[in-house]
Amino acid sequence: MYRYDQFDARIVQERVAQFRGQVARRLSGELLEDEFKPLRLQNGVYLQLHAYMLRIAIPYGQLSPVQLRRLAEIARDYDRGFGHFTTRQNIQFNWVALKDIPDVLEKLAEVEMHAIQTSGNCIRNTTTDHFAGAAQDEVLDPRAWCEIIRQWSTFHPEFAFLPRKFKIAVTAAEHDRAAIRVHDVGLHIRRKDGQVGFEVHVGGGQGRTPHIAALVNPFVPEAQILDYLEAIMRVYNRYGRRDNKYKARIKILVSELGEAEYIRQVEEEFAAQRPGEKIDLPASEVARIHAYFAPPALAARPALSKTLEAAKAADPAFARWTRANLHPHKVAGYASVTVSLKPLGVAPGDATDAQMMLVADLGEKYGYGDIRVSHAQNLILPHVALDDLPVVYAALDAAGLGAANESRITDMIVCPGLDYCNLANARSIPVALAVQKVFADPAYEEDIGKLHINVSGCINACGHHHVGHIGILGVDKKGEEFYQILLGGRADEKAALGEIVGPGLKADDVPAAIHRVVEFYRAERTSPAEKFIDTLERLGHARFQEALYAAG
């Protein structure tokens, strides 16, 4: 993984010193809250319902064991013993005191981490495929380009006060695990005639007006991609709406101009760049950064592990976990492991300090020092030998991390909701946990198969309800919480927005309604191999809607 050199280290250190000064000026009253706000936001500090919340950047979801241990220490020493992993592959702490934040940032800097641009109207943490570097279907490891984009976007002097926040996602695999079509910019790395380039999508997003991104350019050669991104950013910075924060995202600019006119403006700006404006990143610098992401030296192993097969035969729970939580690795004899942060009854994405310590240890001992955060709010050990899976599972299970539910119905993406968040209209975690209970029987859940439920506590859609196969959206109607159900969303390469299927339900009615929809699917599917989303597509929404509202 990437390691800081003198330049990275100095930039982060200077940022810590700068923010220490800003916090001191705020605490002394010299800075007004209104003026402090954009500064703290660009350091990941939000003022939430109960306290300040600190969001720490995990660039493209990549962590070393040392870094994850440091996060565990922060959870233990400055929070209440847990942290919350987010859909941006970041981590949030909800109970850190403002006066302590400069110290926390200093501790992060010691392990090459920071909270830069994790909020505010700037370019946020770039996200990617959580199996990057291990997946069989990628054309190259996208993390090097994510790191290049991280550096380019960090303290970019022109784009720190954009109309609104800006999120970039990168994938290099045919199956899109990074949800690039619902990002402000989605990049798909491709190879064409021996050249590496980027398919560029712009203007996707969720929130109150969800959009699937427009394909703006099918192939921008890698040597030009930063200049092309500059053109995209400049058109947005100059012409994005600033009169209404709800219409300020780039998706609104793209849709109001129309795709053709928007593309014309970007191409015109790109063509207008003079030689002195070009970033001109040397190929040697690209190669230098790629070298940090060289694949680990995985010892040759047989494709079939006798140890693994014996353990599966002996322990049905372990066998079920291997069926759910493993992803094929490009090297025979290895797998990528999903450590589910969605056990029953726990806020999705939460991990305790002890759990973080354990995963760090496992990553060090069995995972070649490589740990990822997925946008589905789980942790990943991308390179684990099949022979080691039984011992890894046993350790995880003993720590409450043995849930066998990756991409299953209880592996929900859920925002913090009204329990924590200022913006929320409704609680989301309690509803998610109530739905989880209906599907608590592991055999039943496995029979249902792949099914994404995403839950948001308001229309800002932090829980990605628009792109869940089933989406649940909390709304407030005259002081009472209601939940609208959406069907048919997906975030992958066939990205689609779910449709609201009818009037909202009371919280107590949601679990049974979801249960009816799932039972309808099980009755109608052509075989257990036909996934929920495929049955839904084949039959249409109307009959699922009937099931949803069938009198209980």
């Binding site: 330049f7 100095r10 006060f161």
Partner: protein, 162 residues
Amino acid sequence: MPLVKGGAEIANDWTFVPDGAALPESGRFSVSFSRFLGLKLGQENGPLPDGVRLAPVDDPAQLEPFLPDLALIEVDFPRYTDGRGFSQAQLLRRRYGYSGEIRAVGHVLRDQIFYMHRSGFTAYETRRATVSEVLEALAEFTEAYQPAADGPGAAFRKRTGA
């Protein structure tokens, strides 16, 4: 309201003349973008200014033919959250080759000044910052990742010795 340029506070010998007000016969002054273009194109008669003030919507491309005549371009930030002025300055410096003073006016806060400096600003009229704070802000970062109009060169160039 201090005006800081070249590492020190300087006297402001420029006057901004609002639209509709009479133009002075002597002294240095700036006018709005539309009035500047009107005077240059002969739609209004009067002394020709060598200063102009850009609002966020103004397009620096239209100034290109007149840049050799300009000694001052003021970029107005009506609200600090409106970042269009950063693009205007970058365009003036890097695309159109303007080399005179670019001055940030309006809601200019201490903590934007480093970004302004890198975007090509050379003078800052600051509402709530002292001279020493402005100078402190300019020195807060000694390295930068990306090329820009001014300030530290890009880290990748230093790394590769390019």
